[in-house]
């Protein structure tokens, strides 16, 4: 399985599990679609936290495999899985450590919240492979960071740091890397049971701010 799913104290832990860099293969996307479908029917689940196995969130799609198999229908299905994740009525939090690139960053962008390790590396490098982000990342970046920044980071395809991502509005908080998962769990537990994704900024202010280490 390229995905690992466990439930700990009513919090679902979705772990991208294809070490070392948790590449997102076609198999991954198929498992993702099935799993998100199942999650949507689970009762008593408080939240979903997505993270990568080992040091990294994920380096994104397997480009060679993708180029051999790409078709319109598969891409739309992958996108639908992301949208279903976003439409879950419980909070979905991406806990980002290490690299988070391409489709993996798109997956994070479809989460309701992105909490990020200080030394994480993010980006949409698709254009450097003569491609473009293909699972909705373009729309998400434009909405969060504005059109000008979206044009710059997507055309250049350069990676950026967690603090740059925070400044652009692409992630919600940065933490020491060993704190990212514990903070994500604490944040998930702090969020109200009748979570509404439209209240995102209120939740960040009320429940994430207090979790930043006081220094």
């Amino acid at each position: 399985m390229t995905l690992q799913w466990t439930i700990e104290q009513d919090i679902g832990r979705l772990i991208l599990n294809q070490p070392p860099s948790n590449t997102m293969t076609m198999e991954f996307f198929q498992e993702m679609q099935v799993l998100v479908n199942e999650i949507s029917t689970m009762e008593n689940l408080r939240a979903v936290i997505i993270s990568g196995s080992g040091r990294h969130y994920s380096s994104g799609a397997d480009i060679a495999e993708l180029l051999r198999n790409v078709d319109h229908r598969t891409m739309i299905e992958n996108y639908r899985a992301f949208v279903m994740l976003e439409q879950l009525e419980i909070p979905v939090i991406s806990a980002i450590r290490g690299v988070c690139l391409g489709s993996a960053f798109e997956l994070a962008l479809f989460s309701h919240f992105r909490l990020c390790a200080n030394d994480a590396v993010l980006g949409l490098p698709e254009s450097t492979y003569n491609l473009m982000p293909g699972i909705g990342g373009i729309q998400k970046v434009a909405a969060l960071a504005g059109k000008a920044r979206a044009i710059e980071i997507i055309l250049r395809g350069v990676t950026f740091s967690a603090s740059e991502a925070k400044e652009m509005g692409l992630v919600d908080g940065t933490f020491p890397k060993n704190d990212v998962i514990p903070v994500s769990i604490a944040f998930a537990n702090a969020l109200p049971v009748n979570f509404k994704s439209a209240e995102r900024s209120v939740y960040l202010h009320k429940f994430l701010k207090p979790l930043h280490a006081k220094d």
Binding site: L67, R68, L131, G146, K147, A150, L155
Partner: protein
Amino acid sequence: MNHSDKVTFEVRDSIGIVSLNNPPANVLDIPEFIPIGLFSQWTSDETLKGLIFKGEGRNFSSGGNLEAIFEKSDEPESLNIMMRDGHALLAVIQNLDIPVIAAINRVCFGGGLEVALACHIRVASENAMLAFPEVNHHLMPGMGGTFMLPALAGFSQSAKMILGGDIVNALEARELKIIDYIAPKDQAFEYAWSLMLKMTSDRPVKVIRSIMKALKNASELSRNEAMKEETQLFCALAKDEAFRRKSEEA
């Protein structure tokens, strides 16, 4: 009158450069300051990867020629057509599927600011001055400034800027999200040029245009419509790239 003399166009390294050339402050004689047909001809070059708007000399542009507007004031219909044509030109600029950067040194007022707002990215020098001074003449921005500004700066800050007519400096403009990057004194063009090359020089034209189209769809279409098109654009690029890799192997 051949008003296109007051705007020049050249292409350097696949980047088009439009210079507002009506010194000293590059007044825009009429709202349609480049005939749309001519502008479309310039930008129909399929090898073009980007476009930069700049002002000749020290300033970007002080905006429209108010005398010309007051002259037309007793012919409301022709004034209306004149403004509509100007607005249509800005829409053409905004809708281009290559990145368009405004390189703003010093003065950028009124219609000049509206031209800059129609561009996709704004680079301003640290000594740039931006304003909608129309209110001081008992007028208002007439080429879309009243809706392009709030999209970036929000309603209340836009109301303050348009009703107050006050000058905003580069730092304030960056804070208000009206501009995206601050360049050193008088270096807006150099900064914009280097940014443009970083974004485009290693990219095939088709990749650039596909990404720009997807970004445009994101703001104009419903999410599902935009996504359907994005997927098509993606698959077309993937096909090209798969083919390129295969022929490299062969």
